[in-house]
């Protein structure tokens, strides 16, 4: 399902950044004195790092091929994402980080903090945030305190001041990136989208590994290129992928190789990052971030009692993007997503929307079985003709 976009220079740049951890862009940023903050999960307020003049780097395990080193301190029934990611840390692939922010998004991720401080000396600043489990006002107050504490820690450790004005400016910049990313998604609503789901994912992941202002410029150029392209119509079905830490474009390529074009998503490197905006009119910018990350952005199943809102969000996307069926992605051993897919899958089917669950490991494995599942899903939706 190759497209004209693949050959363009601008897309190649995104792909290069997504397919590696330390890119030449990050090296340049560091050479000019910039600091890089690594963080887990899409609920960490990365605007704060931009406001501090730092590069927010979303943690991944890109390039990992095994978990032998990490498995000395994880169990075989831990999620393969933290295991691959921590394995990369033990291979010294994250030496470029100046600070690391871990969050209790799930217990598997939380264990990275424990293992990291136990086994690695760097970076010097490792901070753990506590994210509430519900999405109400009291939880927003709580998370506001957490963000304020993180701000204080950054100021103290790096000897800097992060002003409210700087935070407000960062919020505007990040919101503008969100607006552009949505613009890119809008282009996929047509019958013959000019960009595939795998290509979009490369564009999205790269956005978590670049200074945001540079990324905005690249994104603008890319959207211009995509607008000028002819669409591809050789797919059999339009699907939405919902799930978790999905940063592997090859997984999407495998789905699309079976004739299921991924036209939108509800994942942590997709709409969950950008479908909503931080309120720029709220006078307290720290509270605005807390309100956004705890409540306003598309909800993650780790948040209790919020499944109806997540279901509504999926249904909204299904309608807007003319989706034929939903694929629920889940990494092995994930209890959070298992229960979510079970509930939501049933709800979607009741509404007449096809749903299937596809379990995977963090790095692509067992391709043959995945292909069979997706092909059979497309056949049940669209027949065998």
């Amino acid at each position: 399902m190759g497209t004209a976009l693949e050959d363009s220079e601008i897309y190649q740049k995104f792909a290069r950044i997504t397919d590696s951890l330390l890119s030449p862009e990050i090296e340049d940023f560091k050479d000019s004195g910039g600091k890089v903050v690594g963080f887990f999960c899409s609920t960490v307020p990365e605007e704060l790092f931009t406001a501090a003049g730092m590069l927010p780097f979303r943690m991944r395990g890109t390039g990992s091929t095994s978990t032998e080193l990490a498995d000395t301190c994880f169990t075989p029934i831990n999620c393969t994402f933290p295991r691959h990611c921590f394995n990369q840390a033990l291979e010294y692939e994250f030496e470029f980080l100046d600070a690391l922010i871990v969050i209790n998004s799930c217990d598997h991720i939380r264990r990275i903090y424990d293992n990291w401080i136990d086994q690695l000396d760097e970076p010097e600043m490792i901070h753990v945030m506590s994210l509430p489990r519900k999405t109400g006002d009291r939880q927003v107050d709580w998370y506001r305190e957490e963000i304020a504490e993180l701000k204080g820690k950054l100021e103290e450790h790096f000897g800097i001041e992060i002003t409210d004005d700087a935070i407000s400016d960062a919020i505007k910049l990040h919101n503008d990136v969100r607006r552009l990313q949505r613009e890119l998604y809008e282009l996929r609503k047509v019958d013959r989208p000019p960009i595939t789901g795998a290509e979009v994912l490369r564009v999205m992941v790269a956005g978590t590994a670049l200074p945001k202002a540079d990324y905005r410029e690249m994104l603008q150029e890319l959207i211009g290129t995509v607008r000028g392209l002819e669409g591809n119509g050789d797919h059999k079905a339009r699907v939405l992928v919902t799930g978790s830490q999905l940063d592997d474009p090859e997984f999407i390529e495998l789905i699309e190789g079976q004739g299921a074009l991924v036209v939108t998503d509800a994942t942590c490197f997709g709409t969950r990052l950008m479908w909503r905006r931080i309120d720029e009119d709220e006078p307290d910018p720290i509270r605005a971030m807390a309100q956004y990350y705890v409540h306003d952005r598309p909800s993650c199943p780790r948040m209790h009692g919020d499944q109806p809102r997540r279901l509504d969000f999926l249904k909204e996307l299904v309608e807007e993007f003319k989706v034929d069926g939903v694929i629920g992605e889940r990494m092995n051993f994930c209890d959070i997503w298992q229960v979510e897919h079970f509930m939501t899958g049933g709800d979607l089917k009741e509404e007449g929307i096809s749903f299937t669950q596809v379990d995977r490991e963090y790095i692509l494995a067992g391709k043959g079985q995945l292909q069979t599942r997706v092909q059979a899903f497309v056949e049940t939706m669209k027949g065998t003709d």
């Binding site: 379990d359 490991e361 067992g366 043959g368 079985q369 069979t372 059979a376 049940t380 065998t384």
Partner: protein, 263 residues
């Protein structure tokens, strides 16, 4: 109208040749290390049975199974799920649930009156509860696959097998052997453990009668008996060879596609 269905599975290759909805040739061969080699050999065998001399005489070919993408003389490929549903339905139109247990996968497939897949569940990567599992247990028990399959060998008090993992279950079996557990009870325990695993998938899909077993493991009568007990339903005995169900389904699809193209 001469058509063929080829099912290149993980352990065996199957081919079925049909003329006007009737099987005129079929074959099953062991996998030969490369899907094309396996396909060539199984098709040759099926053609010999059908009295054909050249692949060119076959008007349309559909492939399925793990090797489905590599067979160049096929016009289409379809998933094993669609093909087992179709093939089992062709063999017995009253079926609504097909349990396909092959060399490294097991699937529960719910089909409509027309033989179309409505819903399915499939094991993930692990080959627990599939042909590979039975092979390794048969090795540990030194009883051969026939030993596990034969209905006479099923003991009255199935030994408890707690592990689903092939490797762990094999060592569990070795422990049982060395504790002096009766062979029949171990065999019954193994078949029961696989039946339980399948029952979970059946629950996900929603079990509707009539139910049949297809794939290589359908030859395991002990398993069929254990499944009937666990699922509390009869397992239909298919009139043809249930291991061929995938290839039959592919051949039926090949015929339908040929007709659709002609009209």
């Amino acid at each position: 109208m001469l058509v063929a269905g080829i099912d290149i599975g993980s352990a065996t290759g199957k081919a079925v040749i049909m003329t006007d909805d009737e099987i005129v040739g079929s074959a099953i061969v062991q996998s030969q290390g490369h899907p094309v080699k396996t396909a060539d050999s199984v098709v040759d065998k099926a053609m010999a049975e059908a009295g054909l001399s050249s692949v060119g005489e076959i008007e349309n070919v559909v492939t399925t199974g793990y090797g489905r993408l590599k067979i160049e003389f096929a016009s289409d490929n379809l998933s094993e799920i669609a093909c087992h549903g179709k093939g089992a339905h062709w063999l017995e139109p009253s079926l609504r649930t097909v349990i396909d247990i092959g060399g490294q996968d097991c699937k529960v497939i719910s089909i409509s009156e027309a033989g179309k897949v409505v819903e399915f569940a499939m094991n993930d990567r692990c080959a627990a509860g599939t042909g590979r599992f039975f092979e390794s247990i048969a090795r540990a028990l030194c009883c051969g696959l026939e030993g596990i399959s034969s209905i006479e060998n099923q003991g009255d008090s199935p030994a408890k097998i707690t592990h689903q993992c092939t490797v762990f279950a094999e060592s569990e079996v070795v422990t049982l052997v060395n504790e002096g557990e009766e062979l029949g009870n171990i065999i019954a325990g193994i078949n029961l453990s696989v039946a339980k695993r399948v029952s979970g998938m059946a629950r996900r899909v929603g079990l509707v009668d009539n139910v049949a077993l297809t794939g290589g493991c359908s030859k395991n009568q002990g398993l069929a008996a254990a499944l009937a007990k666990v699922l509390r339903t009869d397992i239909q005995m298919l009139s043809g060879d249930p291991q061929l169900a995938g290839a039959i389904g592919a051949a039926v699809f090949a015929g339908e596609k040929l007709l659709a193209r002609a009209s």
